[in-house]
């Protein structure tokens, strides 16, 4: 297997993990809605116990996503985490407080009180999600850095007309794609709020909360639509970071991402459209018809949409982590990847992924029964 095939293979795995991460972010979406979903303590217990039994899995997918990026594209890890410092630290902080949020929420003597731990979960659901979206947005709009592969010099904030806030500029530097990044972040927020509400509808027996969840799924779906459309329109019309496959020279090309979506028999566009239609159908089934299966249909749609977006960032001669400050410093799946032996080793390791999915799927299946009164009254409940 050649280095190039392995680089493409690993970008697919990264895309899949990214898609699985957003799939699992219904937990974050649910956290951001918890205050609207639950009006009293009992309703809160339903919501937090339903989401709480899945938080660790989502957290694990995030860790896995990071670990796979580190192993397969170490230069990206170095440049993005070392460069966009504050974006990653705030995301990190939000996940650290999430991890204790559920377990400590109702424990006696937790010092901070239930509301603070719920605040942690809200912060993770709201700010963590938006910033993750902003970070992914920069895969298309670029960041403010230059790198020298030999002297190993990473410089952040080199663009003369740019702002340097160690990554936070991605949300405020409007002459360098902040609008797209913010729209991307908000789109992600409302997307996971929809799937979060659908999950609550799927996974609890309390009818009053389920009704609210269906209503909130509808509201957030309608808020999501303009952001989703704006993101897609901007994506296909913006200048994209094209990598010449022969010379590896990076240049800005009008409509590059549209070309990328249409390339190769338009398979990325087809995946995107299948995902979008499936998502809409899932929302219709879950929010409008109240069916539990709506969550699954919508979230499978999300999986496809996110997969297509990640593949557009890395495939089709695109730089997946471009630099608007120095085009030739942009990271591609070729120049940022691990070595042939490293990727090949990880290729064999990736054979374990189907077994992992089987294990996750089976344990999910055996615990599938919706959260009921007995669960929320259990002494070990969150």
């Amino acid at each position: 297997m050649t280095h190039s095939v392995l680089q493409h293979y690993w970008w697919f795995i990264i895309s899949l993990l990214g898609a699985m991460l957003v799939f699992m972010m219904f937990v974050q979406g649910g956290q951001s809605l918890a205050m609207q979903l639950a009006k009293d303590e009992e309703e809160e217990k339903y919501v937090y116990n339903s989401l709480g039994r899945k938080w660790e899995l989502g957290f694990t997918v995030l860790v896995m996503f990071g670990g796979a990026l580190y192993a397969a594209f170490p230069l990206f890890y170095s440049v993005s985490f070392g460069g966009a410092y504050w974006v990653w630290y705030i995301i990190l902080f939000s996940f650290v407080v999430q991890a204790v949020g559920y377990e400590y929420r109702t424990k006696p003597d937790n010092i901070l009180g239930k509301k603070v731990y719920q605040g942690f979960l809200y912060f993770n659901g709201f700010i963590g999600t938006i910033l993750l979206g902003v970070a992914v947005g920069t895969f298309f709009t670029g960041s403010n850095f230059s790198v020298n592969g030999i002297t190993r010099e990473l410089t952040w904030g080199v663009a003369k007309d740019g702002i340097n806030l160690r990554g936070l500029e991605a949300a405020i530097s409007f002459n360098h794609g902040a609008l797209f990044n913010l729209i991307f972040g908000l789109m992600l927020l409302f997307l996971v709020r929809v799937t979060g509400a659908l999950w609550v509808n799927n996974n609890i027996t309390n009818e009053a909360v389920k009704e609210k969840a269906q209503k909130l799924a509808k509201i957030n779906f309608f808020i999501l639509l303009p952001f989703l459309l704006a993101m897609l329109i901007m994506l296909v019309t913006m200048k994209g970071y094209f990598v010449d496959p022969k010379t590896q020279v990076v240049s800005l090309v009008d409509g590059h991402y549209l070309n990328s979506l249409l390339a190769g028999g338009a398979y990325k566009l087809i995946i995107l459209l299948i995902g979008a239609v499936t998502f809409v159908y899932g929302v219709f089934a879950g929010a409008f018809q109240g069916k539990r299966i709506g969550f699954w249909i919508a979230n499978v749609g999300v999986l496809f949409v996110v997969l297509a977006i990640f593949m557009t960032a890395g495939y089709g001669n695109s730089a997946f982590y471009p630099s608007y400050a120095d085009l030739q410093s942009s990271l591609t799946i070729q120049n940022a990847s691990g070595s042939l032996v490293g990727l090949r080793t990880m290729f064999y390791v990736s054979f374990a992924i189907p077994f992992v999915l089987l294990e996750v799927g089976y344990t999910w299946y055996v615990m599938r029964k919706p959260i009921n009164k007995e669960d929320v009254e259990d002494k070990h409940a969150y």
Partner: protein, 524 residues
Amino acid sequence: MEHFLATVATDAVANVSGVVNWARAQFAMTIIFHFLFVPITLGMSVLVAIMQTMYYKTGKKEWKATTKFWQKLLAINVAIGIATGIIHEFEFGTNWSNYSWVMGDVFGAPLAIEGIFAFFMEASFGVVSLFGWKRVGKRFHLFSTWMFAIGTNLSGLWIIVANSFMQHPSGYKLNIETARAEMVDFSRIALQPKAIDTFLHQMSSAYMLSATFMITISAYYLLRKRHITFAKRSIAVGITFALLNAYFLFLVGDMQAATVTNMQPTKMAAAEGLFKGEEGAPIVMGMLNPSIKIGDNDKTAVFGIPFPKGLSLLGKHSLNAFIPGINDLVYGNKKYGILPAKELMKRGKVAIDAMYAYHAAKKIKNTSEMKKQKDIFEKHSKYFGYGHLKNEKDIIPPISTVFYSFHIMVGIGSFFMLFFLFMYVKVRKNQILENKLFLKISSITLWLSYIGIVTGWTMAEVGRQPWTVFGVLPTSKSATPIHLTNVKATFFIFLTLFVILGFAELKMMLKQIKLGPDSHEEEV
């Protein structure tokens, strides 16, 4: 705020050593805080699985209540362990971006494998174990508890593999083309002796800490004459487990001492305060001479009780073997073929210069010059890291920190071997309640374990200095080029968070311990 933003925005890295020191402080703080919880998770997950197996086999509801009590404490502990664990994965990129750049191709693989093989197992089966009592069959529930325990322990394995690469790099080569370390043989990274020894040592010390966690809480109950039956059952399990681990730790500690002596002689020399190398070197239990300096050959290095030939036996498993001292490693020793550090640095600089010359030749497409420089590089690449050092004495880690941390760890380990043997006899004779003094000592064994485990890791990590990857990449060249303010700010943010969460965790644990297993009485 304005000043803060202004400094963040300034990327002139005026204070590289400041960044390195604060990044190190942040890593030390987060790893120590994380490690307050990890050993309990590693060991308690196994102990809970054993207790649940007892319930499964006997059907006695007392075992169910015991299992649920310890499981609840485990759950509180797991949450904060997970919360603090993710920080390191991020920190490798945020604070140590140059390390990730140079070593990521090798170091990333064990981290990713840890996620695939261990974390998913933990996350999936942990939920079933914690919430599946009434949702799944008894057998699958027990299976899930064991899978959770195996998952947590597997995660320990892979992180030790990653750490062992930093201690003793193998299965890699430096690539002049990409100016980084690249994997050449994964089996040599995963199965190297250092990884196996450290894993066994780490696991048994984590089990020891978990056992003392049970012993301390049970002793507290016994001293207060509360939950006597429960506490006697728990302390018996804990002492048996602790005794087995105390002796196993001694065995694997001995194995590890030999690998450290061979692979990281500077660490062992500092740990034993051995300045002048000798055949049949002794171990001296005592105090380091505060006035001794690198280069002093005539001064007594350690005041205390000597065990003749002890170090040669420990490090080389031979009574008269030569153990190099700090001075031999810095200034060289012709008789034993040890090159002076200055020579290592000179050769390292040759490798660095050859790498730059190679890329300069590549720019102008001078292939013969490229080949020449590549040959020079490959000949000297094993000294590459030394080329970055400024002073020959830099190759020695902070001696007193390594010396005292090592001796404290060994002292506590030796005490445990005797103490738990004595306590085991008491348990067997059903005399555990007879001597209050020993119960009181039992109730502080958890804190002794913590001191032992933290000093052990201090010896391992500080003893690795001045390297992030031993002999290949100096710590001073591993940090992110960033203004110091950023690293300081994140340090204090996490310090504040840890103080709050640590206090909350302690209060909750104490509350649960106060409530005791009676809170699970409905199970009995």
